[in-house]
Subunit: 343 residues, 2 copies
DNA sequence: CTGAAAGCGCTTACAG
DNA sequence: CTGAAAGCGCTTACAG
């Protein structure tokens, strides 16, 4: 195995500059500007450049308890929106002079523990958790974060937490969308999504039912359907699932993800069912592709940039608070509802 | 600011177990199994659990030159395919007991330098570079990687490098796709993409021209068009760009990205142009959404999993080689071409 | 089977 | 303005 070339240390720079290690440290870190003479500064800067000196971050972080790392936990299978939020957060971290250390889970508690240990071992005190709603062990996740000083969750976790949470306003989103569909004359609006024991699921359902109730139209419970998979990845799955629904004469479908919606559209068209005349299609997670589709998809347009900003704001805020507010803050972000030709 | 609670160190565990720090270190690291008695092991393990001990990774990495971190550089604006590759690589790193340290660039040389410094300061010796083709400073990027022991690039960088490169086989991809389109009777196949001074661009063009030449059909140069933006994000842009093309009576369009292709489809339909009867549409970067579209998009289906495996393989291989092969290996991966109703 | 000692590269009071 | 010294938490020969 090829050896990495020996890297220059502070000692090397000091020797080269003919000064002591501490003087070099002071100059290179730019604190206490009056600590060294102009001549010394120049000699040190020259030596550092000549030797291509880079500080050893492990040594630095070993000795300075404060570090500027924010841990970010995301699932590698997370929907595209979460990944957009991740990239948004990275930009925000960068401009705030933080580094993002990213841990990726793979649908197993072990992989989460692994990365949490990495964070803890790296002195990470601040964590943004983007993914935590797992059918099997979601409730066990919040406790894993107790060791950190500051945490913010995207979406309400399945267990109790004393950390802030930023979430989409699922109740209002569903209430508004379904109300509008009802106003447009749709009566048999089927919502198709996988069952999760999380807040997003139950709040969505609550909003869905409330819209029907407010409109004084019965039967809503019947229209709330559980899908077997979270995304339809091919024609067969979509057809199979839709065939369970079509005999019930839906006049609108709310589908959880754009990829599934595209497949649904394809199946419907092949069956000679017209969109939106016979069935309206509504996306619960509009992507750029869905926005550009023909017919253009209607749906919830979450704002990853906004979401990233709120998450970061809560994390930075909590740095400044002596005593965390109780109960911990909850912020709900409404989606923009885009109405296009699919409805 | 809330203080993180003091973490237990090896010394604390040693005190709790009534043994020396070194014995604890040996036991907890699991090497030299016969180093401690069964009784000592148990006491140490109990103490570590009781104190919730986590090794300080900075201290460990300071003292052990070998580390298991792979640096990954990606652009936050990279197309979805690159992000898929990133998640693929994370999984591979995880099972190979490596950690991925992710640096994200933002279209500026400074942000790249910043993360490269982070890597260098963290003792990272192995780097996978996913994004480096920038119009303004792409040529300056490869030299930044000279300080690392092992590097592998996705796609040929714009400057010379002695590190291995894994890339899509753009020449063959375009040659095969265009040949097939010609065989299907298309004659005015316009390729629309932004101009880049990189290998992907020139190889694609070479394949495009070669297909026409092999078929003995003239005019290919005229059909290779430069688009002003890399992705059409709305109807206006797509319409504006397409209006430059339509007077030239294209009978096929190769479009660089699915989002643009969706907009193109929408514009064409509104203009009463039929797909594929009047114009065939072909995607140079098929996404899952494009595969599910109606009509289903034809296009290049790159395999992120395969790409991730190859990249990791080259990196791991280079660990074992005393002298890197010269010239450095280049691996070209052909895309699967999916033919659907859009052609 | 167990431990004393040295050292990784850095920063931070502190003394001159 | 400059430097000697201590120490962060860990691992690695080495000696008993």
């Amino acid at each position: 195995m090829k050896k990495p070339e020996k890297k220059a240390t502070l000692k090397d720079v000091a020797r080269e500059a003919g000064l002591s290690v501490m003087t070099v440290s002071y100059v290179l870190n730019g604190k206490k500007l009056n600590h060294a003479s102009e001549e010394s500064r120049r000699r040190i800067l020259d030596a550092a450049r000549k030797l291509n000196y880079r500080p050893n971050l492990h040594a630095r972080r070993l000795v300075t308890p404060k570090n500027n790392i924010i841990g970010l936990l995301i699932d590698s299978q997370a929907p595209a929106f979460y990944k957009d939020v991740m990239f948004e957060l990275e930009k925000l971290a960068f401009v705030n002079d933080f580094r993002l250390q990213i841990g990726m889970m793979h649908e197993s508690l072990d992989s989460i523990r692994h990365y949490i240990d990495d964070f803890l071992g790296s002195g990470v005190n601040n964590v943004i958790c983007l993914s935590h709603n797992y059918p099997d062990f979601g409730a066990q996740i919040p406790v894993l974060f107790e060791s950190f000083g500051h945490v913010v969750f995207l979406e309400e976790p399945q267990g109790p937490t004393h950390f802030p949470v930023v979430a989409a306003d699922h109740y209002s989103n569903y209430f508004n969308a379904v109300s509008e569909l009802l106003k447009r004359g749709r009566r048999r609006i089927f919502s198709c999504r996988r069952h999760y024991h999380d807040c997003a699921f139950s709040e969505s359902k609550r909003g869905f039912l409330a819209a029907y109730q407010t409109a004084g139209i019965p039967g809503a419970e019947h229209f709330w359907r559980i899908m077997e998979t979270s995304i339809w990845h091919n024609h067969e799955t979509a057809e199979h699932e839709l065939n369970k629904l079509l005999p019930e004469k839906p006049d609108a479908l709310i589908i959880h993800e754009d990829e599934s919606l595209f497949w649904a559209l394809r199946v419907l068209k092949r069956s000679g069912i017209r969109v939106p005349e016979d069935i309206a299609l509504f996306s619960a997670n509009l992507s750029n592709y869905g926005k550009a589709a023909t017919p253009g998809f209607s749906g919830f347009d979450y704002n990853s940039s906004e979401m990233g900003h709120r998450l970061m704001k809560h994390l930075l805020n909590s740095f400044e608070q002596q005593n965390p507010p109780s109960p911990p803050p909850r912020e709900l972000i409404p989606a923009t509802i885009l109405w296009q030709e699919s409805c």
